[in-house]
């Protein structure tokens, strides 16, 4: 009520100012008239009554002013007045206004862009019902058996559960309103006779209900859809996939071929929803119970020892996370104890690791589990740090521009003081100008932010489809943060010069000549110069280090030739091939592609190179007893007999695989040097030995060759011990990554490769045909993004430093025109004068650089984990950074110095 009155009365007074003034005047005058009337009724004359009333009640005008001065609207009106005046000032100086606004827009836009990414990756909740009640489950404890991980797990926080464990936790807990699970996989989908590979997610039946996701069409899964293994071929489409790939056609009840099997589409999920896992953007959802038919080689559903699904839950109302964790742990440990009885190793140590050390973590999960988040944190933090440095530069820059301008307005302020303005009013006026500039900059900055976001997303998702689902939209958190930053920045850059003009000694200021300047502003200008040089040096050093890092990574010696090398994925089971048909068709594809004109050779592996993929396990020489606690994990790719030659991995001893090695011939293996060294001491020693996987039948193979070590998972990681065997002799049949060595520009080969595969079977899907260079870039997304941003910010810093330094130096040199005139009249040469000014600038720059270097080394130590092949104290980076900042400073000082030195001494002397 009263707040409402405050608002309406205030607004009425603001908009009807004259009516309000009249009201106050009438009321006050009526008051005095009554007082006079009363005095006259006591017998005073009209004149005496008037005098007496004034004496008793005070001055009419003072009373009026006091009354009409009440209310918030007066403050608002004076602020509006200040802003209007500020607007006029800014319009009058378009060059200054444009420079300052653009500078601010760049800083604020960069800030909003990076903050938006951080917000999306680390803060934003999943777009589901009441995300605050979601929890993410993980566990500590041993998990002997098979783990199929997509990353994101850390020590004590394993995010992969077995299906039976999930099942029991879901059905026997008393604290959750639903426990859901998912596992990602690639699916081969045929719609309208067009086959393609898509991102799929196997989900629990209660998945959509528990998350509170509504259908955009048809119905989504219910608990009953998770049936007996393989019994319910149904699918739900994501909204985006439905719109972009199926053209939003009516699909409910229609049949979709998934891995060659008919699935009935039950519905389409609501727009905006992707997955319970942040970072997943599945196109097609199928029930978890269909795992049996979609990955027949695995058969995970009834296996306690296969860890493969991510699990999340929704807390019941009135149950806290701590209560849920305690209750679920009791259940979890009981289930583990019963699982343990089924394990082969019943030793006390195994029991300790499996039961005693086990713990179920129930963690807040409003933003969902994400395998990406851990990898994104550091790069995003670095980017935010750089952006804050840029904002710091912008603040100093605009502050110095404002100062220079304010100094030119000395007379204006003097006149205002003379007319009775208080120091507070002048500061308020300067603040209003600063705020207006800040808001202009913020508006422009926010206008460019979505574009900048789109550009950044495009950069980072270029290459193989490692698309991080960032969106180029701004939410209220980004807007709030940007507003906060803007206000703080505006306050800083307008306050510094404003304080210089608070209450100057009036008489002195009135007599102020341009030839003199007060000490306070001199030291402030020096601070500005030092800060600008320091901040930009920091940014340039960061840019140098990151650019060198990405350069080093791009030119890392992988051990094989990456030029003219194409890769594509092909999985016959996505086209509905049964297990027995997979190896023959893969061999046919190899032969067909290898015979294409322009192709030198073709090879294949199930463990793609430089694509952040790993297939590891233990393999030991026959008869070798592992030492206790010996844990020697080895990379175990299954390859074609042409693979090593196609990649060009050099042979060290023995022979390559060849056409004589077939599915039915003797089982053979080729190992790399690291492997040979660990078990046999040398390459030659290894030849002829047998290796096999412990506890796995039909894995014994003879070592026939030893090859040089090559980089595998990524160019960053050192080579690991590797044992290559033939996919034709493998225990399972899987999809492969094919490598094609071309004798010409690889990009020109894509059409003929597609045609060759289609010539074998049109249902076969050639997935993600890319060059090796693109593949490598795909694993360096974060490094590339940081390097590009750092380079952009480094250049921006140089530009800002140039503008800012020029502004200050031009002003302070102009201040010294008189002095320079005297020097020249006394016989100083132009060169001497220029040298005089330059020396001062470079001395300041030198001081700034000396102060910044230790800071830079400290700051870059924090990002050492993101650097590659370059020291945090790299002399080239620092040298180039220092040199370039000195050049900028010298240039910014030279131009005004030369101008000062070329004017006629007689004229210089006459300048006031």
């Amino acid at each position: 009520m009263s707040l409402w009155r405050q608002l309406t009365h205030g607004l009425r007074n603001l908009t009807h100012r004259s009516a309000r003034d009249r009201d106050v005047t009438d009321e006050v005058e009526q008051y005095f008239a009554e007082a006079e009337a009363e005095l006259r009724s006591r017998g005073l004359s009209a004149r005496e009554a008037r005098r007496a009333a004034r004496l008793e009640e005070g001055n009419v005008t003072v009373a009026k002013e006091r009354v009409s001065g009440y209310g918030w609207e007066n403050a608002a009106r004076s602020l509006l007045g200040d802003l209007r005046y500020a607007g006029r000032q800014l319009r009058k100086h378009p060059v200054f206004t444009l420079t300052a606004t653009l500078t601010l827009a760049l800083g604020i836009g960069a800030n909003a862009t990076i903050f938006s990414l951080i917000d999306q990756a680390l803060v934003q909740a999943l777009p589901v019902r009441d995300p605050g009640r979601l929890v993410v489950l993980s566990f500590a404890g041993a998990g002997p058996g098979h783990t199929s991980s997509e990353g994101g797990s850390t020590e004590g926080h394993r995010h992969e559960f077995s299906y039976p464990m999930y099942h029991d936790l879901r059905d026997r807990n008393t604290v959750l309103d639903g426990l859901i699970a998912e596992s990602p996989l690639t699916l081969g989908v045929t719609w309208n006779n067009h086959a393609e590979s898509v991102k799929g997610e196997m989900v629990s039946g209660n998945y959509f209900q528990t998350l509170g996701v509504r259908p955009a069409a048809g119905r989504l899964f219910v608990a009953g859809d998770e049936t007996a293994p393989g019994a319910n071929p149904v699918a739900v489409l994501s909204f985006d996939y439905w719109k972009t790939h199926l053209a939003g056609a009516p699909v409910v009840g229609k049949t979709l071929l998934v891995d060659g099997l008919p699935f009935t589409i039950t519905g389409v999920a609501a727009p905006g929803f992707h997955s319970m896992v942040w970072g997943h953007t599945p196109d097609v959802f199928v029930p978890l119970s269909m795992e049996q038919v979609l990955t027949p080689e695995w058969q995970f559903l009834n296996d306690h020892r296969s860890y493969w699904i991510d699990v999340a839950g929704r807390l019941k109302p009135n149950v806290t996370r701590e209560q849920a964790e305690a209750s679920l742990n009791t259940l979890f440990l009981a289930l583990r104890a019963s699982e343990f009885t089924q394990l082969r190793d019943q030793s006390a140590k195994a029991r300790q690791e499996f039961i005693t050390n086990a713990h179920l973590n129930v963690e807040a999960g409003a933003n969902g589990f994400s395998p990406l988040r851990g990898d994104l944190k550091m790069p995003l933090t670095i980017m935010m740090g750089m952006v804050l440095l840029v904002i710091g530069m912008v603040v100093v820059n605009v502050a110095s521009l404002l100062l220079v301008r304010a100094a030119g307005r000395m007379r204006e302020f003097s006149v205002r003081y003379a007319l009775g303005a208080t120091g507070r009013q002048v500061v308020q006026q300067l603040l209003a100008e600063g705020m207006l500039l800040g808001l202009l900059g913020a508006a422009l900055g926010l206008a460019i932010t979505p574009g900048a976001l789109r550009l950044l997303i495009h950069w980072t998702s270029a290459g193989s489809g490692s698309g991080i689902p960032f969106r180029a939209t701004l939410d209220w958190r980004v807007l709030g943060f940007t507003l906060g930053v803007t206000l703080l920045a505006s306050l800083l850059f307008s306050l510094a010069p404003a304080l210089q003009f608070r209450n100057p000694r009036l008489a002195e200021a009135m007599q102020q000549r341009t030839g003199t300047s007060n000490g306070g502003s001199l030291s402030f200008r020096r601070t500005c110069v030092v800060l600008q040089i320091g901040l930009s040096l920091l940014l340039i050093v960061a840019a140098g280090l990151f650019v060198r890092t990405i350069d080093n990574l791009r030119h890392v010696q992988t051990g094989f030739v990456t030029d003219n090398l194409l890769a594509f994925d092909l999985n016959p089971s996505l086209a509905g091939y049964p297990a027995t048909g997979i190896v023959p068709v893969e061999q046919r594809v190899l032969d067909a592609v290898g015979a294409l004109p322009g192709v030198r050779s073709a090879g294949a592996t199930n463990d793609a190179d430089l694509a952040s993929a790993d297939i590891t396990g233990d393999i030991v020489p026959a008869g070798y007893t592992p030492k206790p606690d010996e844990d020697f994990d080895v990379e175990l790719p299954w390859v074609s007999n042409s693979y090593l030659q196609t990649l060009g991995v050099p042979l060290v001893a023995g022979r390559y695989f060849n056409a004589g090695d077939t599915a039915t011939s003797e089982r053979v293996a080729i190992i790399n040097q690291s492997f040979a060294k660990h078990y046999f001491g040398s390459a030659e020693e290894a030849l002829g030995h047998h290796v096999s996987r412990p506890n796995k039948a039909n894995t014994d193979a003879t070592i026939v060759g030893v090859v040089r070590d090559v980089k595998h998972a990524s160019v960053r990681e050192p080579a690991v011990a590797t044992c290559y065997t033939l996919f034709a002799q493998a225990t399972r049949q899987t999809g492969l990554t094919f490598y094609v060595r071309t004798s010409q520009e690889p990009g020109a080969m894509t059409a003929s490769i597609h045609a060759a595969v289609a010539g074998i079977d049109t249902k076969l899907i050639v997935g993600d045909l890319r060059t090796m260079a693109v593949e490598i870039d795909g694993t360096l997304v974060a490094e590339r993004a940081i390097a590009m941003l750092a380079a952009a910010f480094g250049l921006l810093a140089m530009l800002l430093a140039g503008i800012g330094l020029y502004g200050i130096l031009a002003y302070s040199t102009a201040q010294r025109t008189h002095e320079i005139g005297i020097r020249m009249a006394l016989g100083a040469q132009r060169g001497t004068v220029v040298g005089l000014i330059l020396r001062e600038v470079l001395l300041l720059a030198g001081g700034a650089i000396l102060a910044t270097i230790p800071l830079a080394m400290l700051a870059t130590r924090a990002v050492r984990s993101q650097l590659y092949g370059v020291s945090v104290a790299d002399p080239v980076v620092y040298g180039a950074g220092i040199l370039s900042i000195c050049v900028v400073a010298a240039l910014a000082g030279f131009i005004p110095a030369r101008r000062a030195a070329t004017i006629d001494p007689a004229r210089a002397l006459r300048t006031e």
Partner: protein, 111 residues
């Protein structure tokens, strides 16, 4: 003229206005005169403070204001107590009584 302090005790102007208006609507001068008369000249309010306070109380929702003719046919702004104003008066009266009696007790104890 005496040198006795006629200033309103700090913080009590609102209470005096509300109490005065509880007897019926009045214009600014009327309120001032009533306060002076009832307090037998102990308190005297000046128009600047009084009219500003009236605006404040009106904004707070405790008073309503209306332009009307006075007895001697001048246009004047009459203030009257709203329902929330009455409640506020009760609350402030109770508060004042509590404090005043506490001060009285303290002064007596000292004597």
């Amino acid at each position: 003229m005496t040198d006795l302090n006629t200033d309103v005790i700090q913080g009590t102007l609102d209470l005096l206005i509300l109490k005065t208006l509880s007897l019926g609507p009045l214009h600014g001068f009327g309120i001032a005169r009533r306060v002076e008369q009832v307090s037998a000249g102990v308190f005297k309010v000046n128009p600047g403070s009084l009219l500003t306070a009236l605006q404040r109380l009106e904004r707070a929702g405790w008073l309503d204001a209306e332009w009307k003719q006075t007895e001697n046919s001048r246009r004047a702004k009459f203030y009257s107590l709203t329902r929330t104003g009455k409640k506020q008066l009760e609350a402030e009266t109770a508060d004042w009584t509590r404090r005043a009696s506490a001060i009285a007790r303290l002064l007596e104890a000292e004597g």
